[in-house]
Amino acid sequence: MSHSFFGGVHPAEHKAATEGKPIVPMEVAPSQVVLPMSMHVGAPCKPIVAVGDQVTAGQKIAEPAGLGAPIHASVSGTVVAVEARPHPGGGEVMSVVIENDGQDTFASELTPHPDYQSLSAQEIVDIVREAGITGMGGAGFPTHVKIQSALGKVDTIIINAAECEPYITSDHRLMLEHPQEIITGVQILMQCLGQSSAIIGVEDNKMDAVKVLEETLQGKNTGITVMAAKTRYPQGAEKQLIQRATGRQVPPGGLPADVGCAVFNVSTAYAVYEAVCLGRPLIRRGVTVSGDGVVNPCNLLVPIGTPLQHIVDQAGGLKEDVAWVLMGGPMMGIAQYDLSAPMIKGTNALTCMTAAEHAPVVEDPTCIRCGKCIEVCPMHLETMYINMYTTARRYEETDKFHVTDCIECGSCAYTCPAGIPLVQNIRVAKTQLRALAQKAKS
């Protein structure tokens, strides 16, 4: 079963610096954690604690208002502020700030269910919701909503362990260190969705992880298969991974469930295991800190809400010549300007880049119509023409080129010989189209 996706690029992987480094707890715990009410796709949560309250690690501190997932304290201590704080996605977001008492007193409303086989689908969905699990590959869609909307509609479960972004190795390490837990997590998801099989998609630059998973699966009749896919970016993009595993294409504006698929990140599967079997809500995760701009590239186990400055300090600090700190990898990561912003549930990496390893910024780039952006676009878009109409400010034309289908993987801008900021221009077009649609409505 092999269905390649179209296009893509193969950037230098830069994974060697951290792929041999186990995920270890930070030596010094953060003195404060900042928990933004927005860590997921959907509406911001409502805080249910007030300044002065004592909280334990694992205690629920915010409830979703609309689409969302609850948020839990990631350390024990005192709530010292409920106010707007810098968010790694940009701007300021209402956040609960907890002063760490250093005790790490843990208490959770969740009950451990090592015998998860006896749980009903709805019970599993409830646990996943109460554990505050959101997609951990970056987008942060609430996992219980994903499962709920997929119930009865899917015939294929795909576990996304592609980790196609350069520099990042946190999922890779997780697979090496906790294969059994991951597989249990996958089995819980299979049971919940009533499926007898699942596919774990791994890129073939992580054959050691493939081997460990296969050894763990050996002799057990789990129905889980490991798919080692040839390394190519963006294999880990949801639509491309579905195409790679099943040959199906998610329709424009559609969801994986529309083609009978449910895709979960491998870290999400691990979080599901922790929530169901151990009764632990999502309050910490593995984060890769890498790049030439950081002193000791490493993988750290970080409480959610830890300020970015504290994380890079635990990795030996930033070097003098660091120029960019990205939340996420270099292809889709968000550039940070204020390291007091915290890491959130979807933060799988901090990439600290020097000017030398970062893409050069070209003044006044000229399109030579080489069409390489079209040749690499995994969404079959005519990026070149979208860019032309965007720079000419004829945004309504870009709609005819399906600009809204763009997944912003960055393959086009990566490959562009002229150095045109294609993804940036596409974002401009999308924003302008939304504005035009709003205007048309009112």
Binding site: L318, A335, I368, E375, G410, P421
Partner: protein
């Protein structure tokens, strides 16, 4: 610590630059240049260098005069210069090359906005403009004549000129040259078009370096091959006629280096196929029915003008929607 920079993702870029692509094109033209020097002496090289220098100078002066950025560094003017020299006879006077360079760079390229904005291949358009001097453009030195670097007179040229294979083929006859001579380039013709072997070598380099996809050259040459095989002129042997048609004239130079010009060719896969077939059909039509023995330049220029329109027809399949051959099935399904 420094202040942090903020910019849109992606934060990595590949090694490809416009300059690198142009440099690769120049490298790929070296074998053809070497063959020209072998058959006509250093004069072939000096003519090419003069054309390049003129192109670079005109680009520099025009942009300086118009208070625009200096774009000489992207090497595209060097590529235009080399290609223009390649479609001149090796014995063409220097001043002719300089006029051609002016037309290519100033009229065709810069007046439309510079690199990426011109709608015709500058070198080819200039070549066609230079046919205002028909005698100079259609008097070709025979191979193995060591041309003097300076001081070529009309009288001298008349003593060393030879007909190109295309002249015979225009009348439905096979040329005197053997196929081996055609392949190596031991024939009369423009400076850079004679040696099929050198041009194919350059083409392979471009494909291996991923500068061009082989799509346009293969469909273009393939179209010419199929038509000439099916309809040979003058009752000639099909296979022989086809081989002479493919190796003769500017077909290989045009198909590999001119028709693949990024700026003036379609960028979609399907568009490139349509464009290349169009080039092939027009080339054979002009060769068979035109008053001219050679049709490569005109057919490429005509298809250049359609490049954007063809891209509209070449729209890629939208991700996640049925292919056109599935649409009828989907409709049937809906009807049920």
């Amino acid at each position: 610590m420094n202040t942090l920079s903020v910019s849109s993702s992606p934060h990595l870029s590949g090694k490809l630059t416009t300059r690198r692509l142009m440099l690769d094109v120049l490298i790929s033209l070296v074998p053809a240049m070497a063959v020209a020097v072998f058959f006509w002496g250093p004069r072939a090289l000096t003519l090419t260098l003069v054309t390049i220098a003129a192109c670079v100078l005109f680009e520099y002066l025009y942009r300086k005069l118009m208070k625009q950025s200096n774009t000489v560094g992207d090497l595209s003017a060097c590529v235009t210069g080399t290609l223009l020299a390649f479609c001149l006879p090796a014995n063409a006077p220097y001043w002719l090359a300089i006029i051609g360079a002016f037309f290519a760079i100033v009229i065709v390229k810069q007046l439309f906005g510079g690199l990426g904005k011109n709608f015709m291949n500058p070198a080819l358009a200039a070549r066609c403009f230079l046919f205002s001097y028909p005698t100079l453009m259609t008097t070709w030195a025979a191979p193995n004549v060591n041309l003097p670097v300076i001081g070529i007179t009309d009288e001298y040229v008349s003593t060393i000129s030879a007909a190109t294979p295309m002249a015979a083929m225009h009348n439905g006859l096979l040329p005197d040259a053997t196929l081996q001579q055609m392949f190596v380039g031991q024939i009369g013709g423009c400076l850079g078009e004679v040696s099929a072997a050198a041009l194919i070598l350059g083409g392979i380099y471009l494909v291996v370096r991923k500068v061009i996809s082989p799509r346009i050259p293969l469909w273009y040459i393939g179209t010419v091959a199929v038509i000439t095989f099916l309809f040979p002129m003058g009752g000639q042997d099909r296979l022989e006629w086809m081989l002479y048609s493919v190796l003769g004239g500017g077909l290989l130079l045009g198909a590999i280096f001119m028709a693949t010009d990024y700026v003036t060719s379609p960028s979609t896969k399907r568009g490139q196929v349509i464009y290349a077939i169009g080039c092939g059909v027009l080339t054979v039509f002009i060769r068979y029915f035109g008053s001219y023995p050679e049709g490569v330049s005109y057919s490429i220029l005509v298809m250049n003008a359609f490049a954007w329109m063809i891209d509209k027809a070449g729209k890629p399949h939208r991700f996640g929607t049925p292919h056109f051959w599935e649409k009828s099935k989907a409709k049937e399904g809906a009807a049920k």
